[in-house]
Symmetry: C2
Subunit: 370 residues, 2 copies
Amino acid sequence: MPLKPNLRIPGPTPVPPDILKAMARPMVNHRGKPFAEIVRRVAERLKDFFLTKEDVLLLTASGTGGLEAAVVNTLSPGQKVLSVSIGAFGDRFAAIAEKYGADITMLQYEWGQAAQPEDVRKALEHDAEISAVMVTHNETSTGVTNPLEEIAKVVREFDKLLLVDAISSLGAIPLDMDDWGLDCVVTGSQKGWMVPPGLAFAALSERGWKAYEESTMPRFYFDLGRARDSQAKGQTPWTPAVSIFFALDVALEKMGQEGLESILARHARIGKIVRDGVTALGLDLLCRDERYASNTVTAIKSPDGVDVSELRRVLEDEHDVVIAGGQAKLSGRIFRIGHLGLADEEDIQDALDALAAALPKLGFTNAAAR
Amino acid sequence: MPLKPNLRIPGPTPVPPDILKAMARPMVNHRGKPFAEIVRRVAERLKDFFLTKEDVLLLTASGTGGLEAAVVNTLSPGQKVLSVSIGAFGDRFAAIAEKYGADITMLQYEWGQAAQPEDVRKALEHDAEISAVMVTHNETSTGVTNPLEEIAKVVREFDKLLLVDAISSLGAIPLDMDDWGLDCVVTGSQKGWMVPPGLAFAALSERGWKAYEESTMPRFYFDLGRARDSQAKGQTPWTPAVSIFFALDVALEKMGQEGLESILARHARIGKIVRDGVTALGLDLLCRDERYASNTVTAIKSPDGVDVSELRRVLEDEHDVVIAGGQAKLSGRIFRIGHLGLADEEDIQDALDALAAALPKLGFTNAAAR
């Protein structure tokens, strides 16, 4: 049976009971040996999910703090950067870099579409001064996964720095940091990791660390060099969210038991079930191209006449299923179902059943008839 | 009986069982109404401890992130700032401002001493271009509390901006934000609040918000204006550490029941017990002036021949009492006992008894004889 409420938003994702229990452990000295063992263990295990030999650094912050870390540790004011955006989080990544003075060229797409590697190629050919590319792997606001491996190939060909927002993809959708040549990869604890929000994880490639040395943006709290030096001693530069480390330690043990391949396969399987299920109900997906459909979050167009907030209310009040609405310009126009981290067939079927029961009450009477 | 281990470090401080239990609550939609109620309630209750009518903003970060927020939301590159430092955390506050391009004049004291209002006056008289003052209320690295009210009077007289690191003082040592005219006050969840680390709280005065409008330092994650706008809707700009909000909600309820006056009196009482206790053991306090002795953390000089790390090991292994060592240049020269947040006479007596039992084993045979 799905946990109730069945939290089907794209983060915070549901947290299994044993991981929640770890959240309630008493405090410890964050500079002591037992905690150092946890820091070392989680940092080491995260490498198996980033698929990197580089250090994975843990920051006490939301995912957005992780994105800020990516920016301020690798870029410099005035630097020309190509920002590939297919939605709200792509725009946010660009906005952070712009705040810190980067000279941004936007490569924007209609929300619901994926970025095309050939467009990245054209942009880099068009302006040789662009020295870094920022891209969202999985766009949580639209339910679209970018063809990151192919985009990375183009960026590597041009030998530019590649910063990746992998917040809602890593540990759920295939990403191979070292093999694909990604220079900075960032994710957050409340997504695929089945852990409460409050930690961001970031890794830099060798090129990324070279960029770190040359970068002149101001940084202190998010200084990844300090994080690296502290983690080498099993510590963090500033007092960390120790409870979330406890939780992550349990979560990574569980994820290790399931195995990355199985986890990725499960997400692919349930992503497909969601898309097939909502389509069978007569609903339209925002992402029309199955090749780019996200296996962690699905955005569904609100049928004419159906009020999204009312739909969400009925689902929550009558079915104990919590879904998300649309963000920014998609507010009121779509709703979103999260299926990352703790999510299996039953959880998803429960959400789909609730949707099937709720829609007719909202005036969408011909559901499943098309 | 004290909780075991008796965690006597100046943060993370021990967390009561009911607050730990709140940490284990299932995830919720951080944009939903039930969570909005919690955001509103904790933000409102925090005002009673800051003693302010201003918004208290909650950031998912360590205390150091809160200090960075104080800097980047009120200062500008090139701005002349007086940084009053009496220890490691005063130095850190200055280092953050310097990283972001502030033009820092340091007013430094020997570690163990308190800042003097007259020195602040002289520094402001000496350079009329200084437009802001940064000061640590309670210096965790030395166990010294600055005479903040008197320092604030001088700063108000000169009409400069006053940024206060109140991380290890607020909710434990008297601080009256509005009455004293403090322009930015920052604290952290793992100190007096009896909550795990991961949240920082910050408030700006009307002058502080005016400085915010004029400040040109780059900010995004720590943008207090965004935090204010989101909190007005019962939200946070980025996904917050929801578990720590749950814990804080319980903690503030408990603190409200005890009452601020009682809490402050308890800290004053146990601070005195610690100082009297260690002095009776023949040990010397780093802070020689009782007027400035911290009621949240006590720094004790390591007696000749006593190895601090060995003392800490014996206390932990044989007595289940965890204390802190010295930081930076005081490493190996002092040890520190934390007594903030969850701390009462019994907890402190347990720690003092352990110290009395451990010291002779470390070669300090004439304890209590002086």
